[in-house]
Subunit: 369 residues, 2 copies
């Protein structure tokens, strides 16, 4: 009985997924496969690994892409759960970030050619697949002379870090910034981009169960270019406050935790400073003392890369950003987050690892067979 029901379900699933493979989301070439879902819910329940789907022809304005690598980000999981503000039409392919190689282009496509590396221009494109055919306008070209894992993880975390360091305060070499969740993907990019610009970073992390794993983390973040690494409890200690006898107070605080952690980093800001929230790992809201707003003129704002991408009316600012970031990568100033590469067929193990609270390695799905 159970087997029969399963067989019917799979058959229904394929019928429901059919539109996915006959439009822009077609997986093409030999053994195309994709991690897909046709309803929102827990990844273990709703994700399916689809294989051997037919390939459509590339229309004049389209590009055929062979995906190379795609990371698993927390937002990807929220999107599958249906709790993210963007809900792609179902059925959908999982993943928002990743790099692919152009295989062929339609007659009207002039700015891309076979061999180019591309990343999706927007969220919800679906990167956890081996092949895709889509309009060229949905892709952005990036250099193909940087490491694969750096290319695959360029569009979300380094771009978020870059924009938050550029768009909210006029920062100059020697200026200080403070961030919590400093070990997050964005946090690691912040440390490196800030260091490349001569900014001093104060990096707040959760304490670790044992001293050696905390020490390892501290050394890792300092190795990336972080100047100070401190626990949240440490923020309240006098010896920490003493560092502002020799350092200017931060103009910018970056928050991906919320709750007490956000309030603590905000308290250290210089008058007129800004706290930018880009995540809420503690699931607690951001609490701001009234006096900080009125008398210290602290600004509390948010940042969402997806929204920035949507607001781009021309791509120049985006091109400048990608070009600068790739330069940092080539110069060794920006490296991909510490990562594990996992074949796409093992996606479920990679998702489970991503959800581990103390996970320090980014899971990257690889599509080479």
């Amino acid at each position: 009985m159970a087997g029969a029901r399963l067989s019917v379900s799979v058959s229904r699933l394929f019928r429901r997924l059919e539109p996915l493979f006959s439009s822009r989301h077609y997986c093409s070439l030999a053994s195309p496969c994709a991690v897909s879902y046709s309803q929102y819910g827990e990844p273990s329940k709703v994700l399916r690994f689809l294989t051997d789907v037919d390939v459509p022809d590339v229309r004049d304005d389209q590009v055929s892409v062979r995906m190379l690598a795609a990371p698993i980000n927390p937002a990807d999981i929220n999107m599958i759960q249906g709790v993210y503000p963007i809900k792609p039409p179902l059925p959908a392919v999982g993943g928002n970030e990743g790099v692919g190689e152009v295989v062929s282009v339609g007659l009207q496509v002039s700015d891309l050619q076979p061999g180019d590396w591309v990343i999706p221009a927007d969220s919800g494109w679906g990167t956890w697949r081996t092949h895709a055919v889509c309009p060229a306008s949905e892709l952005r070209k990036i250099p193909n002379d940087i490491p694969l894992e750096a290319a695959a993880t360029l569009a979300v975390n380094p771009c978020t870090a870059y924009r938050m360091l550029s768009d909210f305060q006029h920062l100059q070499p020697g200026d200080t910034i403070v961030q919590n969740g400093a070990n997050s993907g964005v946090g690691q990019a912040v440390i490196q981009i800030a260091a490349a610009r001569g900014l001093v970073t104060i990096n707040v992390v959760r304490n670790r169960p044992d001293r050696s794993s905390y020490f390892e983390l501290e050394m890792y973040l300092k190795g990336l270019g972080g100047h100070y690494v401190i626990t949240e409890e440490g923020l309240r200690r006098q010896d920490f406050r003493d560092i502002f006898k020799r350092l200017p107070r931060p103009k910018l605080a970056l928050n991906c935790v919320g709750g007490k952690s956000a309030t603590e980093i905000l308290r250290h800001l210089e008058t007129g400073g800004t706290m930018v929230t880009y995540g809420g790992m503690s699931r607690q809201p951001v609490t701001v003392p009234t006096g900080s707003l009125i008398f210290q003129d602290i600004k509390v704002v948010g940042y969402w890369m997806t929204q920035w991408n949507k607001r781009q009316t021309d791509s120049q600012e985006s091109s400048e950003m990608l070009s600068t970031l790739c330069d940092y990568v080539r110069q060794g100033k920006l490296q991909a987050p510490s990562n594990v590469q996992v074949p796409i067929s093992d996606y479920m193990a990679a998702i489970n690892s991503t959800r581990d609270a103390f996970s320090t390695k980014k899971q990257i799905l690889t599509m080479s067979s």
Copy 2:
């Protein structure tokens, strides 16, 4: 014994207050008096009513002013308590806002003449006195053809309301704003200035112990030009949410309460909207859902009139503001808050009335004998 000790204390007090009357803070002309303090603390304990002080000559760059009227604002009380971010050097005269008439001017003073009305350019000047001699640069001229109580209460509340409606969002006629503490001095000014500009106001007030006093308040605020008056509980009701079927969501929220009240008004903002905090009557911090910052792009900032005044490098923006506000007053679009005029000698009763939680009338000290 008690009498002797008191006599010694008063004598000491006068010696400590001497600098106050021999520099810019001199009270001059017949029967000059002032409400003064020589240490921070509870007003009932530290304030003294000083009378009959000698008058200094007016130096070349100075102006002699006869004060006409000065309100009691909550910040004045915090300043006396020593809990306000500005601590005037002691001994000091109470009061930050008020209007005076120029009596005589020094030889170098060209932009003021006897008969002009003036208000202090900055906080901490000390308005609760009958006479003052100070540099002309510490005063701003205002028209003397508006009602006295409007002139006396122009510098803080209407200016705060004007700037908050001008500096944070580009508002156009038909746009909506929401504010809590709508019955505060600033709140009443917001209603009137917004109405003069064609903006729709949603005014949140605390519920009242009985229906008739709530109804009276509602009618009063609507009489000022408020479009909607609603209790904080009402903000969460569906019938309130339904008004956004016919109104655009607010671009701007003005908060002088904090706590849940601030969070509630913030939830109704349009994507990209701003909440400006200028007070914290509930003594609770401002709590902001993470999603509002990231996905709705809500900005949470503060406003402090004192800081704005300090940042003014030229006075043009300030002159424009005062001129517009006085035009509104003359046109009947902006009236002084509902008030009670109290002789300066009864300052303590006026301070006590100001601290009454449900007080709806502004206490204005008058200096005419």
